[in-house]
Subunit: 406 residues, 2 copies
C-alpha cells in the first residue's frame, strides 16, 4: 500500500472545526487506498502565546527550555486531531517528534534532522492507523526535545515521506498552490500545475511563503515529489518535482517579492585586502544572513560597501558592525528600510539570454528605480522602493506574459 | 549531599510571579546544602482548559490521547520554572515524566507507577542542577505517555523521593499544613507539627484535601517523611511520618469533613444470600467507590440497603443499579444529596474506649441528627445533614479540646 504524508499548517488547525476538517481529509486519503501519516503544526497563535508566557518569566528564556515549551503546541494539536479521527471511528494515534523517531542535533531552536527511526510509525501504520506526528520537533541522542526552527513542520513532513518511502509529500496550507505571483497583489496571477525543485527553491528564498526552502531542498536531494495545495478546497494544487517540463516556451515561471529587506551602506571604507571579511565575519557569527553585496569602484583607495539584510535583523546588524566600522577607519554607516526585493525565476533563463534586459526595461517603463541587482543562474532580483512593489509585480507579470496558461 | 524533593501544586505556579517565588524557594533549599528535585503541577486552570479543548473536538475524547494532551500542562510549567531558575544564574533542567524515568502501567487517566529509573535525574543532580520534573505523568514500556489521575503530582513527588533516597519529601500548597479541622470553618483550629501516616491517611480519605491519600500510602510503605507546608510563607508546616509521639494525651488528632457525599437507599430488597454482591459488583465495575453500607434488619425476609457514594458519582451510580434493582425484585431506589461526612481521627482511639460516645453526645447536644455511622480502628465517621457541618465541626473541636496546644 502506498504511504502518503500530509502536512497541515497552523491556520489549517486553528480551531476545533478546522481540526475536524483535517480529520475528514486524512480519512479520505486513507479510503483512497493509502497508509496516511499526518504532520501537524501548532494551532493558530499557540506558539506566540507560549513565547509570551516565557517572556513573563524571564527576558532571556533558556534555549533548551524554550524548545521543550514550544514543542507542547504541536503535541496539543496532534492529540486533538487523533481524538477527532477516533471519534469518527477511524484508528489513529498521535506521536511526538521523539516517539516518531525524529533524531536531531542539539542546536536548540534551529535543530537539523540527523535521521529518522521510523519503526514506531511503521508499526502503527501496520495496524491500519492514521499516524499523527507533531511537527517542528525532534529529539537529541540524549532524548532532549529540540525544535527545528523556521520551516520545521514542512521539513518534518518531507523527511518522514523520504524515510517511509512515501509516494509523495502533501503540504496543505491556506493558499491553493504556487502562483506566478502573489495573487493578493497581482489579480491575474495563475496557479502553476507543476514546478521544478530549483525554481521553487529560488521562489521560496525570494519571498514566496507557500513552502519553506529548507523542505524543498530536502525534497530535491531525495527526489520526493511535494504537492502544495489548499486545506480548504479540493483544487489540484501545485506539484513540485524534478521532472518539470524542459524547455518550456515561457522561461519565467514566477515572480516573488519580499518586503523584509533593509539596506546598509558603509561609506568611506579603505580599500584593503581582507576588508570585506572584517565586516562580514562578525555578521555571520551573529547569525545574520547577508543577501546582496555591492562594492563600488574605489576612488583614491576609498570605497563604499552596500549590502542587504532582513529588515528584522537590521537593528542587530547595525549594533554588530558599529565597532568594526570604527576599527577599520570607515567614515559612517547609513541604512534604509523602505525597500523591497522583486525576483523573476525560471529554470530556462540560464540558457536563454535577454531576460535581464526585459526585466530592466519593464521597470524603466514603469518608472521604477533599481537600487541593487543580484542574480543566480535561474533568478534575477532587483531591490526597489517598497512603495512600488505592486506596480512592479504587475508590470513584470505582463512583460513575461505569465497570465497566459502554461 | 542530602536529596530533597519539593512538590508545588497548581495554585503555587498559577502565574509568572508565583513561578519565580517557587524558583527562589528551590534555590534556598539548594543553598541549604541539598540536591533539589522539584515536582510541579500544571498552572492554575490549564488542565480544565485542555479538557475544554478536547470536548470541542469530540464528546468522548480518547483516553490515550487525552493523557498526552493533559501531560503538556505540567511540561509547560516545568519549562517555565527551569527558565526562571536559569535566569537567576542557577543550573537547572526540566524533565518530562518520561525523561525522569517514571514508568507506569498502561491504564490511561489513572495509571499507577510501576517503578522509576532515576539515572537521568541523578546525572543532572551530579552536575549540580536543580531538576524540575513534570508531575502527574509517566510513560509505559511502549513509551506512551500516561497520567496518574487524582493525587498524581503528590504521588510523583513521594515516589521520586523514595527512588532517590531523599531525606524527605516536601509538599507545598496553599495552606500551612495539616490542621485539627478546616480553619475556614473552625477559626480556633490548630496546625499540627506532626502526624502519623495512618492518621493522615484517615484524614485525607475523610475529606482533608491537603495531600492525597495515595501519596501518604506510598510514604508509609517506604517510610518516607513528608512535610506539608505553604508555598507562600516560611512557617514550619506539618511533618507526616511514622514516628509520631505515642500515647499522647489527647487521642483525637483531627476532624475531617467531606461535602461530596450522596446516599442511596434501595427499599424492599429480598434478603437472600448474594444479594449484596449483585448490587455492588456492577458499581465496582463502573469504578464507583461505595463508602458506608448499612443493611437494616430484615422483616419477612425483606430489607432496606443504604450506602453512600461520592455526590459526583451519584447520577452514574443510579444508572448502574437501576436494572439490577429491577432484576432482584426490590421495590424502589431513593437518593439524598444534602449530606456531609464528619470524621474524628486519632491513632490512640483504638486502645482507648469512649470516643464514639463522646462524639455522639456532642452531636446530640448540638441537635444534629446522625444518619449513618462508620468506623475504622482510628476513625469514627458520622453522616449528617450538610447544613449542620459548621456547627458540628466546632462542637467536636470543643468536645475533644483540639484548640489546646499539643
Amino acid at each position: 500500500m502506498a504511504v502518503v504524508v500530509q502536512k497541515y499548517g497552523g491556520s489549517s488547525v486553528a480551531d476545533a472545526e478546522k481540526i475536524k476538517n483535517v480529520a475528514r481529509r486524512a480519512v479520505a486519503a486513507q479510503k483512497g487506498g493509502n497508509q496516511v501519516v499526518v504532520v501537524i503544526s501548532a494551532m493558530g497563535k499557540t506558539t506566540d502565546e507560549l513565547i509570551k508566557l516565557a517572556n513573563q518569566v524571564t527576558d532571556h528564556p533558556d534555549d533548551r527550555e524554550l524548545d521543550v515549551l514550544l514543542s507542547t503546541g504541536e503535541i496539543v494539536s496532534s492529540t486533538l486531531l487523533a481524538m477527532a479521527l477516533k471519534s469518527m471511528g477511524v484508528k489513529a494515534v498521535s506521536l511526538s517528534g521523539a516517539q516518531a523517531g525524529i533524531r536531531t542535533d542539539a542546536v536548540y531552536s534551529r535543530a537539523r534532522i540527523r535521521g529518522i527511526k521510523p519503526e514506531r510509525i511503521e508499526k502503527e501504520l501496520g495496524k491500519n492507523k492514521i499516524v499523527v506526528v507533531a511537527g517542528f520537533q525532534g529529539v537529541t541522542e540524549e532524548m532532549d526535545v529540540t525544535t527545528l526552527g523556521r520551516g520545521g513542520s514542512d521539513t518534518t513532513a518531507v523527511a518522514l515521506a523520504v524515510s517511509l518511502g512515501a509516494d509523495r509529500c502533501e503540504i496543505y496550507t491556506d493558499v491553493e498552490g504556487v502562483y506566478t505571483a502573489d495573487p493578493r497583489l497581482v489579480p491575474e496571477a495563475m496557479r502553476l500545475d507543476e514546478i521544478g525543485y530549483d525554481e521553487m527553491l529560488e521562489l521560496a528564498s525570494s519571498g514566496a511563503r507557500v513552502i519553506h526552502s529548507r523542505a524543498v531542498e530536502l525534497g530535491e536531494v531525495y527526489k520526493m515529489p511535494i504537492l502544495v495545495a489548499s486545506s480548504f478546497s479540493d483544487r489540484p494544487g501545485t506539484l513540485i518535482h524534478g521532472g518539470a517540463p524542459m524547455e518550456v516556451g515561457n522561461k519565467v515561471r514566477g515572480i516573488a517579492h519580499d518586503l523584509n529587506v533593509a539596506k546598509i551602506t558603509v561609506i568611506g571604507v579603505p580599500d584593503k585586502p581582507g576588508i570585506a571579511s572584517t565586516i562580514f565575519d562578525p555578521l555571520a557569527k551573529a547569525n545574520i544572513s547577508v543577501d546582496t553585496i555591492v562594492q563600488n569602484a574605489s576612488i583614491n583607495r576609498i570605497t563604499d560597501l552596500t549590502f542587504t539584510v532582513a529588515k528584522s535583523d537590521l537593528a542587530k546588524a547595525m549594533k554588530v558592525i558599529e565597532p568594526v566600522v570604527k576599527s577599520i577607519g570607515a567614515r559612517e554607516t547609513v541604512s534604509d528600510t523602505k525597500l523591497a526585493k522583486v525576483s523573476i525565476v525560471g529554470a530556462g533563463m540560464q540558457s536563454a539570454p535577454g531576460y535581464a534586459s526585459r526585466m530592466f526595461n519593464a521597470l524603466h517603463e514603469e518608472g521604477v528605480n533599481i537600487e541593487l541587482i543580484t542574480t543566480s543562474e535561474i533568478r534575477i532580483t532587483c531591490i526597489i522602493d517598497e512603495a512600488r512593489v505592486d506596480d512592479t509585480l504587475r508590470a513584470l507579470h505582463r512583460a513575461f506574459e505569465l497570465e497566459k496558461a502554461e
